[in-house]
């Protein structure tokens, strides 16, 4: 009974959590709304040459010419969820159509709306003297909402003849323009050349040659006058244990070379070594006793 109630309670808690999380999700990534977007072309004395009302996302600028001292002003009010909102980034980007370089103007917030203004002098300061066609974009970004990228159209920017700014170099870096013609060459890793090895035949021949002395010894030693195996029969059990132990020790070494590592072999060798030592001691002491008895 208690288990059943616990299960129902858990289920209710789960439902509550899921409801809360879905509500949270919709509020997490809301939309920004632009209203009252006004684009004004202002002459040198501040009077408006052209005034255009823009509605996101339709562009309004049809490549008007901005004379040398004039400025492009954009104003807009930004709301989120019905309330006035100040996003982290409000910028006006002028991107040159010829070189791809961009100049930016930061928006200023005043009495509920943002005002952005850019002119030839500001562009000159940022990227150099580059008259020509520019694409105008209103950039609005904030981590709590989807960003807005509002292309307002294109303008023809004219620079004053008296300006002494340099033309932008072909490799000017701005936030927008990342040239790829000065990339350093890729360094390819050079692997160590493997050592020169002799042909396999040579190695096999010498391996065979290395075994020849062993065969020679095994064939020669029994022919020496006086060589016998009487020692084996003198203490048969101990000699069997000792020699068997020695052979298994050597077998352990072979297994060590093929499979094990030293940390595994040393304890085994130590333990088996004790057995070999013990059996060897017994064998040798019985042999020496027999020798001393014979000498007496």
């Amino acid at each position: 009974m208690a288990n059943f109630l616990l299960a129902v309670l858990a289920l209710l808690v789960q439902v509550a959590f899921s409801l809360a999380s879905t509500q949270d999700a919709t509020g997490l990534f809301s939309e920004l709304v632009l209203s009252n977007v006004k684009v004004v072309l202002k002459a040198t004395d501040g009077s408006a040459i052209t005034t255009l009302i823009a509605a996101y996302p339709k562009p309004v600028l049809a490549n008007p010419e901005i004379p040398a001292g004039a400025s492009l002003d954009v104003s807009t009010a930004i709301t989120k969820g019905g309330e006035v909102f100040k996003p982290q980034q409000v910028k006006l980007m002028l991107k040159s159509k010829s070189l791809g370089l961009a100049a930016y103007a930061i928006g200023k917030f005043k009495s509920g709306s943002y005002a952005l203004s850019i002119n030839a002098a500001a562009v000159e300061k940022q990227i150099g003297k580059l008259p020509g066609e520019y694409e105008v974009t209103l950039l609005i970004g904030d981590p709590s909402a989807k960003g807005i990228d509002y292309v307002l159209g294109t303008v023809e920017l004219r620079f004053s003849a008296a300006s002494t700014a340099l033309e932008p170099a072909a490799v000017v870096r701005t936030a927008f323009f990342q040239p790829i013609n000065n990339v350093k060459p890729e360094i390819h890793h050079i692997f160590r050349a493997p050592e020169k090895r002799p042909p396999a035949v040579v190695s096999y021949v010498f391996a065979g040659l290395a075994f020849l002395p062993l065969i020679a010894v095994l064939l020669y030693v029994p022919t020496i006058a006086g060589v016998n195996f009487k020692g084996l029969t003198a203490a048969p059990l101990y000699s069997l244990l000792f020699h068997g132990g020695l052979c298994s020790m050597l077998l352990l070494y072979v297994v060590f070379w093929l499979r094990l590592n030293l940390a595994q072999t040393l304890p085994l060798a130590g333990i088996w070594g004790l057995f070999v030592a013990g059996s060897g001691y017994l064998l040798l002491s019985s042999l020496s006793k027999q020798r001393l008895k014979k000498d007496q």
Partner: protein, 109 residues
Amino acid sequence: MVLSAIISAFSDEYKKSPVRVKVLDAFLIYALATAGVQFAYMMLVGTFPFNAFLAGFLSCVGFFALTVCLRMQVDPANKDFTGISPERAFADYCLANLVLHLVVWNYMG
């Protein structure tokens, strides 16, 4: 002429040495021959892999040294080692060889 006299005198005297000494001498020559073959191979093809060459060569050299020690201790004509019985010498020889060969196998890789 003198050389053949030396050789025949040496072989006559050598025949009188005990059997154990003769067996050990055979093993000494075996160790030398194996070391010689390894050295010739190394001279021919270079030292790579050096650890394998050293392991093989020094196993022969170490075995040679231990067998020489055993021969010295076992030879009844050698009066320096009367305090050590041949069985004790052989036990030492076995232990030393086991240790040498474990190290050799480990170094060979």
